[in-house]
C-alpha cells in the first residue's frame, strides 16, 4: 500500500485477477474528485494572490512566473518521463536523482567552454553532449546492468556534482556570449526566449507522451513491465530513451540557467528536491492519478505562482518551502481520504 504512489505494477502480480479490474472501476470517480480538489486549491491560491498581492495579475507578472519557472519545468518534464516509463514503485520505480547535478554540470560545461573562447555552437554541442551522456550512463546502468534507478542516479549524481566542482573549482564562472545575450534580450509576442522554450517544450512533451503511439507504449512499459514485455515491447529502448531525454532537457535547461545567471555558479544541484516534488505532484492533477506532463505543467505553475505571490506580498522566503510542503501533503491526503476504506 505505501509501497507505491499510483500504479500497482508490483503488487498486481500477487492478485492479478482481482486488482486491475477493481482499480479501473474505482479510479475514475475518485480520480475526478482529487483532480477537481487540486485544481480548486490551485485556483484558490491564485485568486487569493490576485486579490491580496498588488500586481499579481498584471500581464508582465504572469509572464514573469512562466519565465522564472522554466528551468524547473524542463527538469520536471524529464523527471516525469522517467517516472512514467519506470513505474511508480518507491524502490524499484523510475526516478532520476542526477537531474539537479546534471543541470549544474551542463551549466559548468557551457560556461567553461565559452570562457575558453569556443563559439556558441561548439559550446552548446558540448553542453547537450554532456547532458545526453549522463542520461545514457543512467539508462545503460538501469537497463544493461539492472541497477535500481534510485541507486544508479544517486551514484551518477555524485559523479556529476564532483565533475562540476572539478570544472569550476567551486567558483562562479561568468560568461557572456551572443547566445546568452540573445536569450536574455530577445522577445516575441511579449514573451522571452526562456518562456518560449518552456511553452514549446511543454507542448512537445505533451504530444510525445500523451498523444503518440510511442508515448502510449511508454505508459504501458511503466504501468506493467511484464505485460508490456509480453506484448512484445522492447522495454530497454523506452527506458534508455527517457533517461537520455531527461539528460537532454537538463542540457537545454542549463543554457537558460546560464543566461539567467550570466554563467555558472555553484549550488544548482539544490533544485533536485523541487523537481522530484513537482513531478510527483503531477499525479494529483491528472485524471488517472498517474504522473503526466499536463499535471507537471500545472504543478510547475502552482509552485511558480506561489513563490511569486509570496515575493509580491513581501512574505519571507523562509515560508515558501513550508507552505509548498503543507499544500502538497494536503492535496495528496485528499487522495487517500477519498479512497474507500479497505481498498489499497
Amino acid at each position: 500500500m505505501s509501497g507505491e504512489i499510483f500504479n500497482p505494477a508490483e503488487t498486481a502480480s500477487f492478485a492479478p485477477e482481482t486488482r486491475p479490474e477493481r482499480a479501473s472501476r474505482r479510479r475514475p470517480s475518485s480520480g475526478q474528485t482529487i483532480r477537481l480538489g487540486s485544481l480548486a486549491a490551485l485556483v484558490l491560491v491564485f485568486v487569493y494572490f490576485a486579490y491580496a498581492a498588488p500586481g499579481f495579475t498584471a500581464l508582465g507578472n504572469l509572464t514573469n512566473i512562466v519565465e522564472q519557472s522554466a528551468v524547473l519545468a524542463l527538469l520536471a518534464f524529464g523527471m516525469t518521463a522517467v517516472i512514467v516509463g519506470g513505474g511508480g514503485d518507491v524502490i524499484r520505480g523510475g526516478i532520476d536523482l542526477s537531474l539537479g547535478a546534471n543541470l549544474g554540470l551542463c551549466t559548468a560545461v557551457y560556461a567553461v567552454s565559452s570562457a575558453a573562447g569556443y563559439s556558441d555552437s561548439v559550446s552548446v554541442l558540448l553542453t547537450f553532449g554532456a547532458g545526453i551522456a549522463v542520461g545514457a550512463l543512467n539508462g545503460l546502468a538501469v537497463v544493461a546492468l539492472g541497477i535500481l534507478p534510485l541507486l544508479t542516479t544517486l551514484a551518477v549524481m555524485n559523479i556529476c556534482a564532483g565533475l562540476e566542482l572539478v570544472l569550476t573549482q567551486n567558483t562562479v564562472i561568468s560568461s557572456s556570449s551572443p547566445l546568452l545575450a540573445w536569450i536574455s534580450s530577445a522577445a516575441w509576442l511579449g514573451l522571452s526566449i526562456t518562456s518560449w522554450t518552456f511553452i514549446l517544450t511543454a507542448a512537445l512533451m505533451l504530444v510525445l507522451v500523451h498523444r503518440t503511439p510511442w508515448g502510449l507504449r511508454l505508459q504501458a512499459v511503466g504501468g506493467h513491465q511484464q505485460a508490456a514485455r509480453a506484448a512484445g515491447l522492447r522495454l530497454s529502448l523506452y527506458l534508455v530513451a527517457t533517461y537520455m531525454g531527461a539528460g537532454l532537457l537538463a542540457g537545454l535547461a542549463s543554457i537558460l540557467q546560464a543566461a539567467r545567471l550570466s554563467g555558472s555558479s555553484p549550488g544548482s544541484g539544490d533544485i533536485l528536491l523541487s523537481v522530484v516534488l513537482t513531478s510527483l505532484m503531477s499525479v494529483v492533477f491528472s485524471r488517472r492519478l498517474a504522473p503526466s506532463i499536463g499535471g507537471t505543467i500545472l504543478s510547475v505553475l502552482f509552485i511558480g505562482g506561489l513563490i511569486n505571490g509570496f515575493q509580491l506580498l513581501n512574505v519571507s522566503s523562509y515560508w515558501v518551502n513550508g507552505v509548498q510542503g503543507v499544500l502538497i501533503l494536503g492535496i495528496v491526503s485528499l487522495r487517500s481520504l477519498s479512497r474507500r476504506p479497505g481498498s489499497v
Binding site: M1, E4, M157, G162, L280, G325, I328, L329
Partner: protein
Amino acid sequence: MSMSVGTPGRERLLLATLVRWVTPAVLILLLLAFAIASPTFRTPGNLVHILVNNFTLPAIVALGMTLVISAGGIDLSVGTSADIAAMIAVTLMASRHGLGLSLGAGLAGAIGVGMVVSLLVAGLGISPFLATLGVLFVGESVQQLATNGGTPIYLVSNFPAAGLTALAHGTVLGVPVPLWIVLAAALLVQLLLRHTAFGRHVRASGAAPEVARYSGLPVKRTIAAVYVLSALLCGVSGLLLAATVKSYVPLSGNAFLLDAIGAAFVGTTISPEAKPNVPGTLLGVFLFGMLHNGLLLIGWNFYWQQVAVGLLVFTVLAASFAARRLQSAD
C-alpha cells in the same frame, strides 16, 4: 530468484559467493592501497579517527534507513529529524536548561517528526517518497523561520559543556562513547529485524505488502513504528552532532541523507537475498567514511573525492547487480 529451476551448478554457486564478496573485497583492497600510499593512514589513531569522525553519525542514520527500506519504504526526512532534535536541545541548553531535559526534549522532537511521517505514510497512505519529501520541505521552513534564515546557535557558556563533552568525546573502557551508541543502535536494529515478530512483519511488509495484509499482519502499525524508530535514531545522531560541534547549524542533517541511502543499498550486496541488513549497512558506511579519509590523506583534491566516491559506488553496484543478473539468467 530462479534458483529452483534446474540444478544449481557449481559455477552458479561460485558466482553467488563472488557477488557477496564484491563489497568486502573492494573495502579490503582500498584499505591496503591507502595503507601503502599514506603512512598516516595506517596509524591506529587514524582508524579511530575514521570511526569517530566519518562513521558514527551517518551509521546511526543509516541503521534507521535499513529498517525503513526493509519495510519497503524510504525516508528522505532523516535530516529533518536530526536537525529538529539538535535545534530543540541546543536552544534549551543555550537558555541554561539541564542536559537531561534538553536531550530528552530533542529526542521527543525527533519522535514528533517521525509520528508526522507515520501518520502520512501509514495513516493516509501517501507514498513514502512524497510524504517524507513534504516533511523535509516543511522542516526546512521551520528551521529557517526559527533561526532567522539559518543562523547557527552556538553554546558559548560552558554550563552544560562537561556532560556534553563527555557524550561526544568521552570514552568508556577505552572506546569512544559515540561508538558505544552505534553498537547499541546496531544491536537494537539487528535484534528487532532478525529476532522478533516485529522484524518478521517489517520484512513481510517490505517483500509483499498485499500478502502480508491478507495474512492478517498489522502492516500499517508496523510501517508506522518503523518511521518513528528511524526518526528516533536520526534524533540521536543529530544530538551527537550538536554535542561534537557544540552548536546547532540549521539544515546540516541533510548531509546524512544520501550516504545513508547509499550505504543501506551497498549493504544489500552482501546478503544472499539482496535485502538490507545491519552488517552490510555498517560496512557501507565504513566504506564511505574510509574513502573520504583515505583520499584526503593521499592528497586528492576535495573535488575529485566526490567523483571518486560516485564512481566507486557505481562500480560496486554495477558489479553486484550485473553478477546477480547473470546468476538468475540461465
